[in-house]
Subunit: 211 residues, 2 copies
């Protein structure tokens, strides 16, 4: 081949040919590697793991927020159990004295609950807060709300991509659980090749039913 | 006393007086509780713990971001070690092909490093990303940058409040370490009452030199 290449004038000497072959094989190998990772199922796997991270983080910060804001209005912790609502109330209303029935209703709290919270607010034994302290707490609660938004966004994303990547898995177990199966298997192709018994074992892992 | 109160017309009968005494003592107890918690040193303790939470979280998300964006541009992980810079580059530049020497210089990357990164970008073996996938990744990196901002903000806050609450401690060990001591001791008063040997033990705890 080296002879033919030289005769047809494709290269001038054999070292040039070796060089050319090296470059071509290198490019081919690169394309192969690229194709191997060009898979959106890996995107889904990353997204579902990010969702898990977000859950963990939001819980961590919520514990902190409840403790911190609890210095000012300890009674609220018991009265509002839903994390997101708690963060929203703190972020929107701020000081305890703004927890009036009317304000709470505007935030979508049911009338009965609102009355209870307003009563607790007016009788609360928590410490007064300096404006500066309160501002830090409100900033924290705003960031937490953004994390919840991000979670919703990623959920919608996983849903869309799962429809494209693995509609059957999605139809069978739902998009979030399906994505988690793909992440645990290490890719859609791996999952497809697994015998049913292995998938069963995947399903028994603790991480799977976390959400 | 009940007799005098009735004679002066302060109350009409003794049950009313009991009621009044009950209310007054209750209010007094409330005031006492309030005063006990109305302490900004507890604010500082919460803030420093939030800073620790933020560090933990930012590290968790950065690991995820590096892995996720690494599907597209794996070489960047090794080239940019500083978490914040990595997140900023991903958030600002997005696709690998935007990692040109000029763009990188605009982002404040030194010329030599920029050339290295741009070279890696043009030769990268990472997968191509759909616009939608990239957008999720960029959103994640933006949120991470916000967490870093929040950390800086809380640091400044701890610094200000420590100046007010415990200027001596701040002068001796710095505001962040001082705040951590207060948090570990469970308040400034507790810390003040501790013998030196106990503070030494506090200092030996792992959590203290975390940052």
């Amino acid at each position: 081949m080296a002879k033919i290449a030289q005769e047809t004038g494709f290269v001038e000497d054999s070292s040039q040919l070796t060089d050319w072959i090296r470059r071509v094989t290198f490019e081919l190998a690169k394309m192969k590697v690229k194709r191997a990772v060009e898979k959106r199922d890996l995107m889904v796997a990353q997204a579902i793991q990010t969702i898990d991270d977000l859950d963990k983080t939001a819980n961590l910060f919520m514990g902190r927020l409840r403790e911190w804001y609890g210095l000012h209005f300890p009674e609220l912790d018991r009265l509002v159990e839903k994390h997101e609502t708690y963060a929203r109330l703190v972020s929107e209303l701020g000081e305890r004295k703004n927890f009036t029935v009317e304000n709470l209703k505007n935030e979508g709290v049911p009338a009965k609950k609102a009355a209870k919270i307003a009563e607790a607010a007016s009788a609360s034994m928590g410490a007064e807060l300096a404006a500066e302290d309160l501002e830090q707490i409100r900033t924290l609660s705003k960031r937490i709300l953004e994390l919840y938004d991000l979670r919703k966004r990623f959920e919608a994303y996983v849903d869309t991509v799962m429809e494209e990547v693995a509609p059957n898995v999605k139809a069978l177990v739902g998009s979030l659980l399906g994505a988690r199966l793909i992440a645990l298997a290490g890719g859609l192709q791996n999952l497809a090749k697994m015998p049913a018994s292995t998938i069963q074992v995947l399903g028994a892992e603790k991480a799977l039913f976390r959400s």
